[in-house]
């Protein structure tokens, strides 16, 4: 099974986000970029499938994403078999408002996947700058594949022959993930508010948008990332971009005001703690006396 994991660089939200003077784009000059956290979850889920039955995992990034090499090498260090950097024939610009739209990115990835088909595309359910919607279902629509998003677990639906009594082989296979044409399928868990899930069987090829992997993403030590860099396993591929269509007309970007929001407490930690305990005590939510 060939699993392609598209990954994306997004601004580190721990930092303050500045806008350009004209309010048309985010100011990327001093921004730090990190791997989209849901893509990290998607990669982990793909690697779990590889651990279980030897799937081949290919991490794919876009050359226009800041620091994408680092994230692709990290994917290799974690166990991805290949890392590919897509270079758009016409540069897209960095991700997000004022740069490449989600539709632009999906069109490029669709062109790559048409030329290099995958059995399974697993990517993050969303990214923090997905203004025009999310990648998984857009990509699936462009490729005419089934898709499921907000997934918290992907497992092969085929029943392992070793686990099945001979007499049960036929019905087990039927129930366990071979469709009428004998195609493979996966079982996924789609999560709804409050933790309720739908367990769905999806025929391959398919696109899955991962919310969280079955386990926390594995850690790649810096030494192994350096090894991956030195081994140079990152390949570049020029891809003709398809026209994306339905571009959004962004009137302006601005930062939300906190007007009407919190009353800010100032002073030392001791003083602020005193105010907080006072607020709680006034509502009878802390026992004991105010210091």
């Amino acid at each position: 099974m060939r699993i392609v994991v598209p990954i994306k660089a997004v601004p580190d939200l721990v930092e303050e986000i500045e806008l350009t003077g004209d309010g048309a784009a985010i100011d990327r000059e001093y921004l730090t970029f990190v791997l989209n956290e849901w893509d990290g979850q998607a990669l982990e889920e793909a690697l779990l499938l590889k651990d279980a039955d030897g799937a081949k995992v290919v991490a794919v990034g876009l050359a226009d994403d800041p620091d994408i090499d680092q994230f692709l090498y990290t994917a290799l260090a974690k166990g991805a078999d290949e890392a590919v950097k897509l270079v758009a024939a016409t540069a897209l610009g960095p991700p997000g408002p004022g740069g490449a739209s989600g539709a632009d990115r999906a069109a490029l990835l669709a062109a790559y996947l048409t030329a290099h088909p995958a059995d399974l595309v697993i990517t993050g359910v969303q990214a923090a700058d997905d203004l025009d919607g999310q990648l998984p279902s857009r990509l699936a629509a462009l490729l005419d594949l089934p898709h499921v998003s907000v997934v918290i677990g992907v497992e092969p639906a085929q029943v392992e022959p070793a686990q099945v009594e001979p007499a049960q082989v036929e019905p087990a296979q039927k129930e366990g993930g071979r469709d009428e044409d004998g195609g493979a399928s996966v079982t996924v868990r789609q999560e709804f508010a409050g933790g309720r899930c739908h367990e769905l069987e999806v025929q391959l090829p398919a696109v899955i948008g991962v919310q969280s992997a079955r386990q926390a993403p594995r850690y790649a030590p810096i030494t192994r990332i350096r090894q991956a860099m030195n081994a140079g396993g990152l390949s570049e591929l020029v891809v003709p971009a398809r026209a994306a269509g339905n571009a959004l007309v962004v009137r302006r970007l601005h930062r939300p005001g906190t007007a009407g929001g919190a009353e800010m407490m100032t002073g030392s930690a001791r003083e602020v703690a005193g105010q907080i305990v006072g607020l709680l005590r006034a509502r009878g939510l802390v026992k004991g006396s105010v210091p």
Binding site: V10, P11, L13, I17, Q41, G96, P97, A128, D132, G133, Q134, P136, S137, R138, A141, L142, P146, H147, S149, V150, Q190, E191, A193, G194, R196, C197, H198, E199, L200, E201, V202, Q203, Q211, S212, A216, G245, N246, V249, R251, R252, L253, H254, R255, P256, G260, G261, A262, E263, M264, M265, A269, R270, V272, A273, V277, L280, L285, V286, S289, P291
Partner: protein, 324 residues
């Protein structure tokens, strides 16, 4: 060109979701401004139309594959509805269903899509959507000038009351039936079973006070700091999604769109930036006190009191005082 505004109804166990009413309330406002009607696409059990009294038109598609939400089945049925009804706008929840269907419908229905929308208005005949992106740190105003568009709306940003209410003597909505598309017979996705939410060791939605922690806690080891405060107060520890996804706390402790909605008497947020999905789960708390070193963190927009002190300086002081 229609000026109607359509909502996709979500339902579970024979009950229309609260989020659907938020969408209908918003649709009614927009349809009023555009001079159109409010339509609700009801896929599956048509008898639920009785719960959609605040719509003008309920468009039903009945088929066994639509009894429960299955992305491919819903997508095909909804595309049939869109082809027949051609609404000006389609509103979806920015939760599982909207995240799942929105972009695919944008491609197949050939309509622009705006996600994470927290405000919608008609300005000089043009629909303008305001989206909260980058964890709510940036607002994007997007114009939707064409004949059709899709908008996914953040939960909790709008009241569900206008969409749920029907005035006395209000006319029942017109019910229109659309035949299921033949493509529902060749689905590549099928529902195997519904898995109910697993109960946790503690019900955070029943707590009077919650000590809640986010990405700012940085590591699992650091949880000890806030855990001490929760213990000193005798209340549960809850968290935003990144802490749960990292595997540091159980899913049952998660507050937000994909976790639980809570409304304690006091919600103490430490190192939580306040992404829209988190705010959806806690903004109705009676008292919100937020601690985050970033003065621009969106959590401060919904908090009653805030501080930009480092949580690692503040929390030990709080523990001392509560224990005294």
């Amino acid at each position: 060109m229609s000026t109607n505004v359509m909502v996709l109804a979500e339902h579970t166990d024979g009950k229309i979701s609260d989020g659907t009413y938020e969408l209908i309330g918003q649709a009614r406002e927009l349809a009023g401004a555009l001079g159109g009607a409010t339509e609700v696409a009801l896929l599956g059990p048509a008898d639920l139309a009785g719960q959609l009294g605040s719509a003008d038109i309920v468009v039903c598609v009945e088929h066994p594959a639509l009894e429960q939400y299955v992305p491919e089945a819903y997508e095909r049925a909804l595309l049939e509805v869109l082809a027949q009804r051609s609404p000006r706008l389609l509103l979806l929840s920015n939760a599982t269903v909207g995240l799942d269907l929105g972009a695919a419908l944008s491609v197949h229905w050939d309509a622009p899509l705006v996600a994470y929308v927290s405000a919608l208005e008609v300005d000089g005949g043009v629909v303008v959507a305001t989206a909260q992106i980058l964890g709510g740190k940036v607002l994007a105003e997007v114009e939707l000038p064409g004949e059709r568009a899709i908008v996914t709306l953040l939960g909790g940003a709008f009241s569900s009351a206008p969409g749920a209410a029907t005035g006395p003597g209000a006319a029942a909505p017109e019910v229109v039936h659309v035949g299921p598309p033949a493509s529902l017979a060749t689905l590549r996705t099928s529902l195997r079973r519904v898995v109910p939410a697993a109960g946790g060791d503690v019900d955070i939605s029943a707590a009077d006070v919650l000590v809640s922690v986010g990405r700012g806690i940085e590591s699992q080891e650091n949880l000890e700091t806030v855990l001490e405060l929760a213990e000193a107060l005798g209340v549960p520890l809850s968290a935003s999604r990144p802490v749960v996804d990292a595997g540091w706390l159980a899913k049952s402790r998660q507050v937000g769109q994909s976790g639980l909605k809570v409304k304690p008497r006091a919600y103490l947020a430490f190192g939580i930036s306040g992404a829209p999905e988190h705010l959806e789960g806690m903004r109705r708390s009676e008292l919100i006190i937020a601690c985050n070193t970033d003065p621009g963190a969106p959590i401060f927009a919904v908090a009653h009191y805030g501080t930009t002190l480092d949580l690692f300086d503040l929390v030990p002081e709080l523990v001392d005082m509560v224990r005294d």
